[in-house]
Amino acid sequence: MEEGEHKLEIFRGLIKFKSNVQKIWGVLFVLSVITTVEVVLGILKPQPLLTMLFGMKILNWIFIILTILKAYYITWDFMHVRDERDSLKGSVVLPLIILIPYLAFILLLEADYIFNIMVDGFVSWNF
């Protein structure tokens, strides 16, 4: 791949880097900031973020969204998916974003059901 083939914009063109090396350091900065925010939130655990939303704490939703954001920058810029054709992007990413949420949905729903069975059941689990 030649230098010219790298796409050097992140944040939808908001930031445009001069060279590929510069972009790498820029992405490292983004990833570090996200990780620091995660760790600080994980240590402080701000009280307002502990309320439930769609069966999970808001804080946990924030963690998951930040993680997916990090995953996006790692694949798109470190693994050069940004420079690949749409067909390759699709064949790599689509199976994952279809199958993983599906698997998570089914298993977590089932786990919640089993939890309720164990709470409401006549059998003691704590002895």
Binding site: S32, T67, A71, S87, I100, D112, F127
Partner: protein, 326 residues
């Protein structure tokens, strides 16, 4: 006329493999397909962790209380700092890997070798850190009792609410019980080492010390473990059948044993990926040094192992979130 000739040209390209819909080399494409399947394997593991966690949502161990160690800071409560550091180390070794790939595009052999070397160092430090985490996890910190139903009873100081280790209150009572060796039995079986304290020593010590309370696995609304009153505690301790120190695949002083199983399995599988990544990186590093890719005319092999290495980083980002943060 033009159309027909270009058409026939195109179809010959298609039939002879000239058509490249994905515009990626065979090796790179196969690496991507492997990574997709590996990503599904890891998501299977992490989702099954989620399954067990949602199933025990009111009693799952709190990660902040389990992973509290930092090198050279003994006795200081440092939740998550070390895993955060490990995350940064792995992200940084990912950066040196991309820099190596970039130097490869410019055919700068020495730069590729230098960045590959840094990547290997980063990976080795990460694997070492993980081994250290495992050591602390296996060794345990406070010790606990286990009931017949497999529930864990931990001890806290009634006035301060701090955790108390078994060593600080267990009485020393002489007993005849020794570790069963292979050569003393009638059958060739032995047992692993006995815990430091017998159940009786812990029980007597607990009853002698009125300040001690027991906390079980259940979690209250604020996400803290529920501490029993002294009366409940003295009743509860009668259920105990085992002393547990540290964690393995069968017993786990931190709480639900599935937590330890998933910890060993998921971080172990990830650590195995990091380890094999380091080994592959070392092979490629030497290939770079002896000039294999210089002769070949391109550094695509560095790019391919780079993909694998970033994937390992990617998985860690998720393991970090689901094991330590959420």
């Amino acid at each position: 006329m033009d159309i027909t000739s270009s058409d026939s040209e195109l179809s010959s390209e298609i039939w002879e493999g000239g058509n490249k819909p994905l515009n990626a080399s065979y090796g790179k494409l196969m690496m991507w397909f492997f990574l997709v399947s590996d990503a599904l394997t890891f998501s299977g593991f992490i989702v099954s962790y989620g399954f067990s966690r949602f199933k025990n949502i009111d009693s799952w161990p709190i990660a902040d209380e389990v992973f509290t160690h930092f090198p050279f800071l003994h006795g200081i409560d440092a939740p998550m700092y070390y895993v955060a550091l490990m995350t940064f180390i792995l992200i940084f070794s990912s950066v040196t890997m991309v820099l190596a790939v970039d130097a490869g595009h410019h055919m700068k052999k020495n730069k590729v070798a230098f960045y590959m070397f840094l990547t290997i160092i980063g990976g080795a430090v990460f694997v070492g850190s993980q081994a250290w985490e495992w050591k602390n996890f296996i060794k345990g910190e406070y010790g606990a009792l286990e009931t017949k139903g497999g529930q864990i009873l931990q001890f806290v100081d009634g006035s301060s609410g701090e955790r108390v280790s078994l060593a600080s209150f267990a009485l020393s009572i002489s007993s005849q019980r020794t570790t069963h060796q292979k050569n003393t039995g009638i059958w060739f079986q032995n047992e692993s080492s006995l815990p430091t304290f017998s159940l009786r020593e812990v029980k007597e010590g607990f009853l002698k010390n009125p300040n001690l309370l027991i906390r079980g696995e259940k979690i209250n609304d604020r996400g803290e473990k529920i501490v029993l009153s002294r009366e409940q505690s003295t009743l509860k301790i009668e259920d105990a059948v085992n002393v547990v120190e540290g964690a393995n695949l069968i017993h786990n002083e931190y709480g639900n044993r599935l937590f330890a199983n998933f910890f060993f399995f998921i971080t172990g599988f990830h650590g195995f990926h990091v380890f094999s990544g380091v080994v592959i990186n070392i092979i490629i590093f030497f290939n770079v040094i002896i000039g294999t890719y210089e002769k070949r005319g391109h550094y695509e092999m560095v790019e391919k192992v780079g993909l694998y290495w970033h994937f390992v980083d990617l998985v860690w980002v998720f393991v970090f979130t689901f094991f330590y943060l959420v």
